[in-house]
């Protein structure tokens, strides 16, 4: 470089520009998500805004176009809150989820525990255990509607096992029908929790486990004090995923019982479907679905907070 020449551009200065900003992890890590998120927002946001708008109208499908429907503010929400059947359906749905999800988690965890170590035929068992979640829920519902009639194969098997005639009315008894719906959900979706937990076990860091063993911990102690805490984030993910799905349960009550007997199995999704598409009260259905959205969002928010707290705790303990 000769004297008088303009100074060469500082490479580091250039890096501090656009590329530099991109190179910084905080920015770069978001870039791959931009197309997906843009698509997501473009597809969902208009629908969501339309849903909110419809909930502020008084529109029935049988009363002309929605853009001509009168604006009624929060009336549809008041109707929803005052609709005893909706509130019961909401409560019933949470009750179903509260019964089904722990069962699915427990069974999925137990099965994953059995299949975590290599043994002969492990792949075959794992594949068989994953099959139920690959079946279309409507098919499961239809098949079960035939298997569960009071003189059907399910009761016949129970009769053989019990050594006496079992005639539980799985589809028409006020108490048994909800159990049948929960049972159908558990049968199909335990596969998913099994898969999540199997992956969780496979991804466990081995160092703390080895260290515990070296220090003389029993198998139970290793499981209880090392593996289980490490699996908590996985458990939280399984809880969130399954709860979100269980709160939308529609196929089984619809195909098994039509929401009956009475309203014993009418979940919020079934009721929303009726209000919107059978009764043509779209604005009411929109308001109800927004109330459901808030309820589910609160639940998921709490679950995610628990998940984060666990992660932070594990990070602080230097385990994860």
């Amino acid at each position: 470089m000769r004297a008088g020449d303009p100074p060469a551009p500082d490479r580091r200065a250039v890096r501090r520009g656009v590329l530099g900003r991109l190179e910084r992890e905080r920015v770069f890590k978001w870039i791959p998500f931009v197309p997906v998120q843009t698509l997501f927002v473009a597809l969902l946001l208009p629908n969501f805004l339309l849903l909110v708008y419809l909930s502020l109208l008084s529109w029935r499908i049988t009363r002309g176009a929605w853009w001509n429907a009168p604006f009624t503010g929060l009336d549809a929400f008041m109707v929803a809150i005052g609709d005893e059947r909706f509130l019961w359906a909401l409560a019933r749905t949470f009750l179903f989820a509260a019964a089904a999800v722990p069962l699915e988690l427990g069974l999925g965890f137990g099965l994953a525990l059995l299949c975590r170590s290599p043994f002969r035929g492990r792949r075959v068992y794992s594949t068989i255990l994953l099959l139920p979640m690959m079946i279309v829920p409507a098919v499961v519902g239809y098949d079960l509607s035939m298997l569960l009639i009071d003189q059907g194969p399910f009761n016949q098997i129970l009769s053989v096992l019990a050594g006496r005639a079992i005639t539980v009315r799985w589809l028409s008894d006020y108490t048994a029908a909800p159990l049948a719906v929960i049972g159908a959900d558990v049968w199909q979706w335990t596969s998913l929790t099994f898969l999540i937990f199997l992956s969780g076990f496979a991804g466990l860091p081995q160092d703390p486990i080895r260290a515990a063993r070296v220090m003389g911990a029993t198998r139970w102690q290793v499981f209880r004090y090392v593996e289980l805490p490490l699996l908590k984030p996985v458990i939280a993910i399984a809880v969130v995923l399954r709860s979100m799905e269980a709160l939308k349960i529609f196929d089984y009550p619809m195909l098994l019982t039509q929401g009956g007997p009475g309203n014993a199995t009418e979940t919020v999704a079934v009721y929303l479907w009726r209000v919107g598409w059978e009764f043509a009260r779209v604005s009411h259905a929109a308001a109800m679905s927004l109330i459901l959205l808030v309820a589910v969002a609160v639940y998921v928010f709490i679950a995610i907070r628990v998940l984060r707290r666990e992660r932070r705790r594990l990070a602080a303990e230097g385990i994860a």
Partner: protein, 486 residues
């Protein structure tokens, strides 16, 4: 000059009037199915098409009996059908979503009359009076009252194709046993046979329920009817009508919660104890084979039960059935029988179809005397007789028995419609829900009907009383005037 002017005027007038005359003359053909084929051919020619596939939504239980006839129509005209199956109780929701989407995803569909008012108001069902005038379908042969099921506010929207008014079937072989007859008469004071009243049916049900081992699972159930969600309310409504009652007064105030409704509901609940315990979850796919398996003495159901009950291979009771007029109630010294038109499928044409006329021709073909007889007589058919000519058609007689046909068409004389006004699905759903709650003992019959009446008032107010009253006035004309059939 004058002569030329007159000639020109006549020619111009003739030219102007020719389409009107052509329309009035309609499509050539001696029979409705011929006219449907000719109309379809003319349509294809006018559009310059050699083949056309229409999209159709159809309840799954109707496919088996219908596809052969659709294929025959395609062979003749080039108009074929891509059909997709939907559960019979889900048709309304699917149609309603199309009313919003306006996509033209199906050209026509088969659905029940309950959804007609809503689907007309939603703009999906197309009025077909113009095409009816052209094609001249066999409406004259349809049993009185049924054609009305396809009309709304003075226009025709649906081609009637399924005479679904209820029938009672009892086991002739069991009722005719001399020793049983003696025992029955000694106990109840009348010879067992077709009951005139619901009280008599309950007596038959009680007598013929057989549980010799006392297991609580009888070897023979005395009665069957539908009690499942989505279905059971229809069976109560029939009993309520037989009380000589109507669901609303002229101002659309509900009348169901009075003594007539409560008594009918109490009888309905009482009869259920002679039915299989699981009946609360059953519809046709479970009920028909159960009865045909010889497990029950009597069943009140759709007329297609005859296909299952008389099936030479699948039924254990073929030739052992007695088809009965629906029972009724004695009101002010007079017997009133009512047979509910408990489903009754119609062919609807979509307003968003690109080929509504082609869809109409196929509907006319399927509901013509000749083709409907073949459909009704089909081995897997659930299409039920609805034409006078079905009574004498040997194919239908062979499939259904002469006795069944005569009784069925007599029942049709006292056939009453379901509640077919706007919001019908919601009115009926609330009724259904409360009837089931009463059946399960969760609430009393009185409370069930009071709750229903209150909910109906709410629905009426939401929909607008004035408009609903108009719909109700029109529907009232479809109720039978006779108390008993001729």
């Amino acid at each position: 000059m004058n002569q030329r002017f007159t000639t020109l005027a006549v020619l111009t007038l003739a030219l102007c009037l020719s389409p009107v005359v052509a329309a009035a003359q309609g499509v050539p053909g001696k029979t409705a199915d011929e006219r449907a084929i000719n109309g379809a051919k003319a349509y294809m020619k006018a559009k310059g098409l050699t083949s056309l596939k229409l999209n159709m939504m159809m309840p799954s239980i109707f496919t088996a009996g219908s596809t052969g006839e659709m294929a025959a129509f395609e062979k003749e005209t080039g108009i074929g059908v891509n059909y997709f199956e939907v559960g019979i109780l889900q048709i309304q929701a699917k149609a309603m979503s199309e009313a919003v989407a306006k996509s033209g995803s199906f050209d026509f569909w088969i659905g029940d009359p309950i959804s007609l008012p809503d689907l007309v108001e939603a703009g999906l069902a197309r009025p077909i009076d113009d095409l009816v005038a052209k094609g001249k379908p066999d409406f004259d042969d349809v049993v009185a009252g049924f054609v009305e099921q396809g009309r709304y506010k003075g226009k025709t929207y649906g081609m009637f194709g399924d005479g679904d008014n209820f029938i009672l079937v009892i086991r002739r072989d069991l009722a005719d046993k001399p020793e049983e007859r003696q025992k029955f008469k000694a106990k109840y004071g009348w010879e067992p046979g077709c009951p005139d009243t619901y009280q008599q049916w309950a007596q038959l049900a009680e007598f013929y329920t057989r549980d010799p081992k006392g297991t609580g699972v009888p070897e023979l159930y005395g009665a069957m009817g539908y009690r499942a969600r989505g279905w059971g309310w229809r069976w109560w409504l029939q009993q309520f009508y037989a009380k000589g009652a109507l669901p609303f007064d002229d101002g659309l105030k509900p009348l169901i919660a009075g003594s007539q409704g409560v008594e009918a509901l109490k009888d309905y609940i009482a009869l259920t104890k002679y039915m299989p315990k699981d009946i609360l979850g059953w519809a046709t796919p479970q009920a028909y084979p159960f009865y045909a398996g010889g497990n029950a003495f009597s069943i009140m159901t759709y007329p297609s039960i005859a296909i299952a009950a008389e099936h030479p291979e699948k039924s254990k009771i073929a030739g052992k059935n007695h088809y009965c007029l629906v029972p009724g109630y004695v009101v002010n010294g007079k017997l009133i029988r009512r047979s509910l038109q408990g489903f009754g499928n119609l062919f609807y044409v979509s307003n968003y179809s690109k080929h509504p006329e082609a869809a109409y021709w196929l509907a006319q073909y399927m509901t013509s005397k000749e083709v409907s007889a073949r459909l009704v007589a089909g081995p897997s058919s659930v299409w039920d007789p609805y034409m006078k000519s079905h009574l004498t058609d040997p194919r239908v007689i062979k499939a259904r028995t002469k006795e069944m046909l005569e009784v069925h068409l007599k029942n049709a004389q006292v056939a009453a419609p379901m509640i077919l006004i706007q919001g019908a699905v919601e009115y009926n759903d609330v009724l259904d829900q409360n009837i089931q709650e009463a059946l399960l003992g969760k609430i009393t019959p009185e409370d069930a009907l009071k709750t229903t009446a209150a909910a109906w008032e709410k629905i009426t107010n939401q929909l607008g009383r004035k408009q609903q009253i108009e719909g109700w006035k029109a529907l009232k004309k479809a109720y039978p005037t006779k108390n008993v059939p001729d």
